[in-house]
Amino acid sequence: MSETVKFGKSSVFFDTFERRPGPIRKNMHYCPGCGHGILHKLIAEAIEHFGIQKDTVLIAPVGCAVFAYYYFNCGSISVAHGRAPAVGTGVSRANPESFVISYQGDGDLGAIGFNEFIQAANRGEKMTVFFVNNANYGMTGGQMAPTTLPGQKTMTSPYGRNTATDGFPLKVCELANALEAPVYIERVALTTTPRIRDARKAVFKAVENLRDRRGFSLVEVLSPCPVNLKMSAQEINAFIEERMEKYFPLGCFRDRSAETFPAPVPPPPVRDPEKVKELLFPRKLNIGVPKTFRNESKIFNYERRIKIGGFGGQGILSLGIMLANMAKLRNFNVTWMPSYGPEQRGGSASCSIILSHSKIPSPLIDRDCNLLIAMTQTALEKYIHELKPNGVLLYDSSTMKRPDVTPDKKVLGIDALDIATNRVGNHKCANSVILGALSVILIDHYLEGEDKLDFDRAFEEAIIDGFSSKPEVIKQNLYAFYEGKKVALERDKSKTAQA
């Protein structure tokens, strides 16, 4: 004579719920008669039956089941509201050997996270989603949910859900059934014992699909919430069967598990820490300067503000990034703030760069800028008032006339577009030509000592750092930079000769 347990606590549950705070460690936190407990038991049984406990990752929603990790002795994650399928996608892709179960309620899946859910279903992610539909928001006290029935009274629909203003209940299974990718979709109810047995079959099927990695499975569970709906165990069963099932018909909407061949398990991703480091930080070029380096020129003792304006596609933002990168490689604090229209080509674009050896309080520039680079007439007119007295203005003389500004400002025009198109052979390099011309102004008037030589070197380092994977881009931009410099120097000389 031997006594065995025929029906008892699944081994997938912790024996004592040590993670649960407070003195009660044997019970779940759910209200009496809650469907979550029944579904938890079915899922635990299925996980135990298919032997996938070790590699299962159960993703808990925000909602009543948020503490699912108290109970399940498997991998668990609590994620931001509604994001379970999104996080599940990441888990199943980063760890292809894991089995991802997303457990969600109607607020989590039907409201805030519906997009995450439907996109994951559409991608056919290898996961199983359990959707607990109890026709209200349980955790917060029984408010109206997307699944609340027409005319149903809740905390926030005291006169019953009015379909004219609140719309109709969301049929999640039917919506998912419109997609190509899902493998298995079924709606079940946790009411009478036969229905729970059907639900058990559906849960087992979904977990089996998960084990075989057949694709996306969805089980919607009409679940009793007797406390919030103010009913007894019998009344809630009648409510589900008589009212909810009319609107949410039970049954299997799709079962393609037999037609779907199990996907092969992809090779596990790189786990070697050294290799991960290599992936994250591809290379450490020997560029930059020691941490203690400071430029000696006096102009760098103060915050320097640079504004660049033009239209989209001229390389305005990259010119800014280049300057910012140069400053970064010389130990400045630097900010780069772009501003551009919605168009990718055309429209106005501008960026503000601030470099300083102390803290930069705001990355925006709307006045007192030290250097303005204008590549179109409109940008010049728009930003010229932001230039400080005795600031520097650099403009593209091939596209605009010499601006009329007060004599205290230094103005230099360079045929950037002409030089880039005709000499370099790529009009996109006009921004590097501008930088070449800038280097002439700075070296002539502002930089001191070693810094005179360092500007060009900083440019080279910045361009190599920024485009290390594109040698052709580096070559062209370096060429454009030195062409710009040459032209600016020639003009300087001829000016001196004239004088």
Binding site: E3, T4, F7, H40, T193, S232
Partner: protein, 74 residues
């Protein structure tokens, strides 16, 4: 050889939701008169050895460990 079943309901784990009472085909389960530590009137099985091992009450019960059904082979 015959099989016998025995139902055990954990007094402290029951929350008294009464889902199991109509589920039992033998009407074995009834509400007891004692409050447990959680403050619920828990249910108890009146003749636990009359259990037929169908598992209906176990399926209905939302608590993982409140109902256990043992099977004895003789």
């Amino acid at each position: 050889m015959s099989r016998k079943y025995r139902i055990v309901i954990a007094h402290e784990e029951c929350k008294g939701c009464r889902r199991c009472i109509p589920a039992c085909p033998k009407n074995l389960i009834a509400v007891g008169g004692e409050l447990n530590k959680q403050g619920y009137f828990s249910v108890h099985a009146e003749h636990p050895e009359d259990c037929i091992g169908c598992g209906s009450c176990y399926l209905q019960c939302p608590e993982p460990g409140a109902i256990t059904i043992y099977q004895t082979e003789e």
